[in-house]
């Protein structure tokens, strides 16, 4: 019991770190699902591209030896901007090519198209950048030893950065959704696409912007993941995408605060499973948690029940 309590704070920190990444991925899923009722399987691969872009920028600015040409925080900021911009544009491209022609097609068609897009992206990366792992040299930007001790736990600078960045991004998104015209339009389109169009909302543009936002967040998640967990490879998007969707579902699909909550919950559950039960079964445990959750509360933590008019 004592061991449990002693480990708890560290697992909490780990959980929140992981949860931040999942939350950002989950947001993209939730937003797109809310607006198009589409499971964007390629979303995880956008996240992967974000990690790669961040890696590229980092490598460009990291000298082989000697001091950094720019302050570390600036480099990190550049990584974020590049990844978010790049992924946002990629998201727009995916929507335009793989989903827009299928706007009025039966549900199965865009799902299969999404699957195909996911495969395409993964293998395009494998073809051009090989299947080798790439590693973020975070230690060159942020010294490993930097951090603060919170009792028995240690909050490293990197983890603090991840959690903080995620919180900042989520606050910005919440502001966008709650307080701006765009956010209102987005919520309107999610509730009733036709009615929104009749109210003068440019539905296509809103959809494009939603994809941009969601993908940009995934890109940021990719950079964050790279910073704290280092490894980057072409199939990392698949698992992460699955977890992101799980988080979105747990929080209530289509619900933005739900996605954030779901992400955090999932991160904590996974960290606890790894820390307290066994790392080998972590995927299975997360998965069973998802099934159990869906059985008990299919609409998620914050989701609303959908009423179908007969």
């Amino acid at each position: 019991m004592e061991q449990f309590l002693a480990q708890l704070p560290q697992q909490l920190i780990n959980g929140l770190t992981l949860g931040s990444v999942y939350a950002l991925i989950a947001l993209g899923y939730s937003m797109v699902y809310g607006i198009l009722q589409l499971l964007n399987f390629a979303h995880g691969d956008v996240y992967m591209i974000g990690a790669y872009i961040g890696f590229g920028v980092m490598t460009a600015f990291l000298p082989a030896s000697g001091p950094l040409p720019l302050p570390a925080l600036v480099i990190i900021l550049l990584m974020f901007i590049a990844a978010m911009l790049g992924c946002g544009l990629l998201g727009i491209g995916i929507e335009w090519f793989a989903y827009r022609p299928l706007r009025n097609a039966p549900r199965l068609a865009p799902l299969i198209s999404a699957l195909g897009t996911s495969i395409l992206i993964q293998n395009a990366v494998q073809l051009t950048l090989t299947a080798a792992y790439h590693t973020y040299r975070t230690d060159k930007l942020i010294p490993i030893t930097a951090g603060i001790d919170l009792g028995p736990a240690r909050l490293s600078a990197v983890r603090a950065l991840v959690i903080l960045s995620a919180i900042v991004l989520m606050i910005v998104l919440t502001y966008l959704v709650r307080r701006t015209q765009f956010g209102r339009a987005m919520r309107a389109v999610a509730l009733d696409r036709e009615a929104a169009a009749m109210m003068g909302v440019n539905v296509d543009r809103i959809i494009v912007l939603t994809f941009f936002l969601g993908s940009a967040l995934a890109g940021a998640a990719g950079v964050l993941n790279g910073l704290v967990f280092s490894r980057v490879w072409h199939t990392m998007g698949f698992n992460a995408g699955l977890k992101g969707f799980t988080a979105a579902v747990v929080g209530g699909i289509g619900n933005i605060p739900g996605a954030m909550l779901g992400g955090m919950v999932l991160g904590l559950v996974e960290s606890f499973a790894v820390g307290f039960i066994s790392p080998t079964f972590k995927e299975s445990i997360t998965f069973f948690a998802l099934i159990l959750f869906l059985l008990i509360r299919p609409r998620g933590l914050l989701g609303a029940t959908a009423v179908q008019k007969v």
């Binding site: 039966p106 073809l127 998965f287 998802l290 299919p298």
Partner: protein
């Protein structure tokens, strides 16, 4: 009443069918073929397939034929769940794996259980049914998209468990038990022994020697035939109608007395049983099972087969399986792959461009463009070019066909710009090609679109020669991904499916 006259003209009513039917030579052949009774058509195809081991003693070819049968059977099973019941099951391959591992554990030296094959296969069938119901139960309460993710997770977890269950702690045994062999899998499985026949040993029939590979081929072909028959019968019954009704409108179906929950479970169970038994035969055939046999890769391939052939169409799914099972084999030999690739491009251009002379113009344009570019590079930057990397093998080691393919390869390599270092420019060209192709596909048909096709095809050939031939595995997946997206946008009903009308 006067209104009786309207809508009673049968010829007018069938105008859509007439428009859709192909004309000319293909149309007439098709009409003749379709005039034959259904049973005869299938028997003919299956008999032709059965003749393969008698036409060639090349084990490799027979093995490919066997793979086609296996994948066709799997795709048919998946078709029951997705095409008939409309449930997006992304964990299907896990049932395949379950059957394979069950065979590996029950008919091998692993736990020294050498169950007779027919018992094992029967058990696997029942196991498949049971697990299908088990997975189906939670799915009843889930919306289609949630179901997709849950089943996907199930598939992933299965592979995970297979990899990690080589160290299972149990209370009644000191030390961990190795159940699944981990990532090394399980080997030395018993061969199939049915009807007094040992499939692991060659058999002499009517003076003709059938290798073990051929025997397993027949087992797989028989399995395919049985599954086809069962599914066809199910389709033409109240269950088939209920499944289709459920897929159309689940609520209305329920209101018309069809127990949708039970029917969904039945679809799941049938699909899983088919997958499980296929897995068992596969395990015996391969003498081994490895976790990575059952990855998402295979799942995507099965979906591509189904979608290419046409969801819900039995012959379509079989044809789709045939095409997509043969392609990786073609890609194995670069020379053969090259012939197939260029043939496909030429055929595609010739078939899809109307009028036909446009196709000829485009092809001529590409060849001309290539020659010009090659000449330019040769005069300006000769050092960048590499001589052909292919040589024509001696007569003693290759067939005439192989030598022709090699010669063709040399000609192509002299026509295209083949850089000394093919990888970097190839990668760049690929990254340009992808968005360019996609953007081009969305253009409205026009002179511009036609004109742009030639440089695009050249770029495609360039990427092919520099990168794609060197990476057959990746190329196969790229092809499948593109196929899935393009099919959904331009021809969602695949090759032989029927166009569906949906109310969104």
């Amino acid at each position: 009443m006067a209104s009786d006259k309207f809508g009673r003209d049968e010829w007018v009513a069938q105008i859509d069918a007439r428009r859709a039917a192909p004309t000319g030579v293909t149309g007439q052949l098709l009409a003749r073929w379709n005039a034959l009774p259904l049973g005869w058509r299938w028997l003919g195809v299956l008999a032709a397939f059965a003749a393969i081991p008698f036409l060639t003693s090349n084990d490799y070819l027979i093995r490919v034929a066997g793979t086609v049968c296996l994948f066709a059977t799997l795709s048919l099973g998946l078709n029951v769940v997705v095409g008939y019941a409309g449930l997006l099951d992304l964990g299907f391959v896990a049932f395949y794996g379950l059957g394979a591992y069950a065979y590996a554990l029950l008919s091998s030296g692993k736990f020294d259980l050498h169950w007779p094959s027919w018992v094992t296969l029967l058990f696997i069938g029942v196991l498949g049914l049971a697990f299908g119901v088990l997975l189906g139960l939670p799915s009843l309460r889930l919306l289609g998209d949630y179901l997709a993710i849950v089943t996907l997770g199930f598939g992933l977890v299965f592979v995970q468990l297979a990899i990690t269950m080589d160290r299972v702690e149990v209370p009644w045994h000191a030390g961990p038990i190795d159940v699944t062999g981990g990532s090394n899998g399980l080997i030395n499985l018993d061969p199939l022994r049915l009807f007094g026949l040992d499939f692991g040993e060659p058999l002499t029939l009517f003076g003709y020697a059938l290798s073990s590979v051929a025997l397993y081929f027949y087992a797989l072909l028989a399995a395919l035939a049985v599954v086809l028959l069962v599914i066809y019968h199910l389709n033409q019954s109240r269950i088939g109608r209920a499944w289709r009704a459920m897929r159309e409108d689940s609520l209305a179906a329920e209101a018309m007395g069809m127990p949708t929950k039970r029917l969904k479970l039945l679809a799941f169970a049938c699909g899983s049983a088919i997958a499980g038994v296929s897995g068992g035969i596969f395990a015996a055939w391969q003498h081994s099972v490895f976790p990575l046999n059952f990855s998402t890769d295979l799942l995507i391939t099965l979906y591509a087969m189904m979608v290419l052939g046409g969801l819900g169409s039995l012959p379509g799914v079989v044809i789709g399986a045939g095409i997509l099972a043969v392609i990786p084999e073609l890609l194995r030999s670069p020379e053969l792959a090259r012939v197939a690739f260029y043939s496909a491009v030429v055929l595609g251009v010739a078939l899809f461009l109307r009028p036909r002379r446009n196709g000829l113009i485009v092809l001529a344009g590409v060849i001309l463009l290539g020659l010009i570019l090659r000449l330019a590079t040769q005069t300006l930057w000769p050092d960048l070019l590499s001589p052909p990397t292919i040589t024509v093998a001696a007569e003693s080691v290759s067939t005439a066909f192989e030598r022709t393919a090699q010669t063709f390869g040399i000609i192509v390599q002299k026509w295209i710009i083949l850089p000394m270092e093919p990888t970097p420019p190839g990668n760049v060209a690929f990254l340009v090609l992808l968005p360019a192709l996609l953007a081009w596909a969305r253009l409205q048909p026009s002179r511009l679109k036609l004109g742009l096709l030639a440089p695009l095809l050249y770029l495609l050939a360039f990427v092919w020669e520099t990168r794609l031939t060197a990476e057959p595995a990746v190329t196969r997946l790229l092809l499948i991904g593109t196929l899935l997206v393009v099919l959904m946008i331009f021809r969602p009903h695949g090759l032989l499916g029927t166009k569906r009308v949906e109310l969104v």
